[in-house]
């Protein structure tokens, strides 16, 4: 397998998979949208094409069948309903898993689950196979050619290969005679119609067919389907042997690549003879368990618009010019003005360059949002709820790392909304709400922040229940609980070990609690806010900085050493005054407008070797850490600076209290404080 071509294929296929994921769910809401149908069809077809080139057989098999189903659907022969969608989505999952496995370095894919392939094949016939026997063969479309058993054959007896062959031939004959009204494809001269066909020839025929179809949309291909021999009770049980025989026949027909297409049979490849819809129980999914544990490897490549690259190149060119200018200025006695002009120019160019480079890291939030229609759909179907997911602001750009880091917390919150927020349809109806619940997922940029919100019109939260729960859990006494305002009561759900659900469902209880969500958001220098009205719904707002690479900070210090505090957390700064402080339980607190805030003397931790005699002249920086506030006592406040975050090196990655390091204007290193870590060091 050519590794380079494979990588190209994987990049393309991953994009297609992302698109399909969304399109498939959209399709369920508007199953007759022909643009969408065509897009989905093309998606599967393109993946198949690439897989075919690389000879990834399992992938081809699934894509091919899915493509067939959609061909039927767009021709109006099959309706895309929830049951069909279930099978298609399973097929899609197989494809998506396969791509992921290939991305993870696997070069051999496991065999496909034959059950799934059968079901897909059945779909092309308009049948839905759902585990047990559900559809009977009598639902066959009447306009399909009926095949007759040769005389003397016991219809209840086993079907022999010869008999089956005869039936097939019969079918071909009927099909041929019926296909007068369908545009016939003509083989190029000199091609043996019965001989093997090359890929090129086949492709040519396909194109021919497509053009014919486009020219006469009414002349849709005739479904070429197999029916059971007459006399066989369609509702009766089928023996394993019979089933096996049919399967073999089908496989024999299908597995002769390139397929033997007869001129008069326009659609053999598109609609292979479907298998009978009675899978024996023993064909239970065999390789489901081989699915590897989902690895969360961050993407290592980014697609960048060439325009952006040109822009950067241009700016780099400017930068070189400025450098040359400065170099010439260095050599001679130059006026202050010249130098300051050149420096001003340098300032401009670097600012622009920085912005441009940052843009290359930006990706639309759609990348995260894209997975939600599917998540909500599957979950709603599982829970028996009716939920409409609305997405807003998908085009909002977000730093690549943030896009990846936000995925998990968002999935958790959306699942929560679907599971705990939106009520069952009958409950909703009784409450006078529309039966269909709505979950709105929105993103927008607000200054240098991105605001993400998850809103549902479900049952909301009762602050009193939460207060009571907090007391029960021993998190606070009744007095403290009763003093919590509603907002703070809602935020209780973000604390560790706080679960209001008496039963943890396998949906929301996936090991990620709200406290984990909160700590993930906090790690991104973000904040989380909860609004809820009992009976009307809940809104969760997440605010995260636009980028993780550049951080506006407040520089503070002790003598020579400087530290950077993320500016988003800084609330106010004032002079340290020992008279305003008191000690409660060994902890120094400062009173600030009726609120007691714990004070942490950073030098105790950061400069333990030279204890200070007096904190006179020191400053207190009030910061918000999660839902709490803390006062950090520092020697100097050096002002604001935008810093580029650099990771701390080997052996320091896990040092608590630091989010990284940065290089300051004078070339020295400043450590960036991670406030939750700092606070935990003092507690």
């Amino acid at each position: 397998m050519d590794e380079e071509i494979l990588q190209d294929f994987l990049v393309e296929a991953s994009d297609l998979v992302d698109q399909l994921n969304e399109q498939l769910v959209d399709l369920e809401n508007s199953p007759t949208d022909s643009d969408l149908l065509n897009a989905v069809f093309r998606g599967f077809h393109t993946i198949k094409g690439g897989a075919g080139f690389l000879a990834i057989t399992p992938l081809i098999e699934v894509c091919h069948r899915a493509e067939n189903v959609f061909d039927k659907i767009r021709n109006g022969d099959v309706e895309y309903d929830a049951a069909v969608a279930d099978v298609i989505l399973r097929a899609f999952d197989v494809i998506s898993d396969s791509i992921e496995q290939l991305n993870d370095g696997a070069r051999e894919l496991p065999e496909n689950d034959p059950l799934l392939l059968n079901e897909l094949d059945a779909l092309t016939k308009g049948q839905v196979v759902e585990g047990a026997v559900k559809e009977s063969l009598s639902t066959e479309k009447t306009n399909e050619p009926i095949l007759e058993l040769p005389e003397g054959v016991d219809p209840d007896g086993e079907i022999s290969d010869e008999e089956f062959e005869a039936l097939l031939n019969q079918r071909d004959g009927k099909m041929a005679s019926r296909s007068e009204d369908t545009p016939a494809l003509t083989l190029p001269e000199g091609v043996d119609p019965d001989g093997d066909m090359s890929d090129e020839e086949f492709e040519a025929l396909l194109e021919q067919r497509d053009t014919l179809k486009a020219a006469s949309p009414s002349a849709d291909s005739t479904p070429s389907t197999l029916t059971l021999p007459e006399g066989v009770d369609p509702d009766g049980d089928m023996s394993d042997e019979e089933f096996e025989a049919l399967l073999q026949q089908r496989d024999a027909l299908k597995s002769s690549p390139p397929p033997a297409v007869k001129e008069t049979e326009p659609d053999v490849e598109k609609t292979p003879p479907p298998v009978v819809s009675k899978p024996a129980k023993k064909t239970a999914p065999a390789n489901k368990s081989t699915k590897p544990a989902a690895k969360n490897t961050p993407e290592s490549t980014v697609r960048v618009d060439t325009k952006r690259l040109d822009e950067i190149m241009n700016l780099v060119g400017e930068l070189v010019l400025v450098r040359n200018r400065l170099l010439t200025l260095r050599g001679k006695e130059s006026s202050r003005e010249d130098i300051s002009n050149a420096v001003a120019n340098l300032d401009h160019v670097t600012t622009d360059l920085q912005a441009s480079v940052l843009k290359t890291r930006m990706q639309p939030v759609k990348k995260v949002f894209g997975r939600f229609p599917r998540v909500v759909r599957d979950l709603a179907r599982k829970l028996g709820k009716d939920i409409n997911l609305e997405l807003e602001g998908e085009e909002t750009d977000l730093d690549k790392n943030l896009v990846e880091a936000l995925a998990d917390p968002l999935v958790h919150l959306v699942r929560n909304s679907v599971d705990h927020g939106v009520e069952m349809p009958d409950v909703r109806a009784a409450a006078g709400k529309p039966k269909v619940g709505t979950v709105l997922l929105a993103a927008k940029q607000e200054g240098d922040h991105i605001l993400l919100s998850i809103t549902d019109d479900g049952k909301g939260m009762d602050p009193d229940v939460l207060r009571q729960k907090a007391v029960e859990k021993g998190m606070m006494d009744e007095v403290a609980a009763s003093q919590l305002d509603d907002q703070s009561a809602f935020e209780l759900i973000l604390s560790a070990g706080f679960s209001t659900a008496d039963q943890i469902s396998d949906i929301s209880g996936r090991g990620v609690g709200m406290d984990v969500v909160k700590s993930m958001i906090t790690k991104l220098n973000g904040s989380i806010e909860i609004h809820s009205v009992l009976g009307e719904g809940t809104q969760i707002n997440i605010k995260v900085p636009l980028t993780l690479a550049i951080l506006p900070t407040l520089m503070v210090g002790f003598d020579e050493d400087s530290y950077a505090i993320p500016l988003t957390s800084v609330q106010e700064i004032f002079d340290f005054n020992p008279e305003q402080t008191n000690k409660i339980d060994g902890q120094v607190m400062v009173r600030l407008r009726e609120e007691s805030i714990p004070l942490y003397f950073l030098n105790e931790w950061l400069a333990p070797n030279n204890p200070k005699e007096s904190y006179k002249g020191d400053k207190v920086v009030i910061v918000s850490v999660g839902n709490q506030r803390a006062g950090l006592v520092v020697s100097q406040v050096n002002g604001q600076e935008e810093v580029v975050i650099k990771p701390l090196g080997v052996m320091l990655k896990n040092a608590t209290g630091y989010a990284g390091a940065t290089i300051t204007g004078n070339g020295s290193i400043a450590l960036i404080l991670d406030l939750p870590g700092v606070v935990s060091r003092f507690q």
Binding site: V650, M651, S668
Partner: protein, 168 residues
Amino acid sequence: MNLTTEAPSVEQMQQGGIMDEESAYLGPGIRCVLFTLENEVYGIPVRKIREVLRVGAIRQVAGATYGVLGVINVRGVIVTVVDARILYNMPSREIDDLSRIIIVELDGERTVGILVDFVMEVKDIPEDKIESLSGSKDKASRYIQGIAHFQDDVIILIDVDNMFLGVD
């Protein structure tokens, strides 16, 4: 490599004929940067070394693991500096003009700076002069790849990969 002292090439050594008996045989060798700690000679294979730096300002990091001196800025990259003396259970010593930081490349992107007393030279050590240390697996010797008796020196070869194995 920022080192000025280059080891004489194999050819030079053979043609010169002034080498002592021990260097007369020059089989496959490992080119190492030799440095001292407490008057003992240590070596790190050149292929693991990115550069050798004079000691500038080291930014201390409170709460770091014992042995970590702090971080330095190597052209925009923050690199951790460890004190080789502490790692080898030796008393630490004031940094002076001869002190150097050897920037070592670990797997992939990771780099680390090792503070040493004095960097001597670059030398090819014939492989068959290297005795691997087997048996004792205490903490300090885990960092040692082998010992070479070569040209009147006892050279302790450091296994930098092992030294920083599992740290992150």
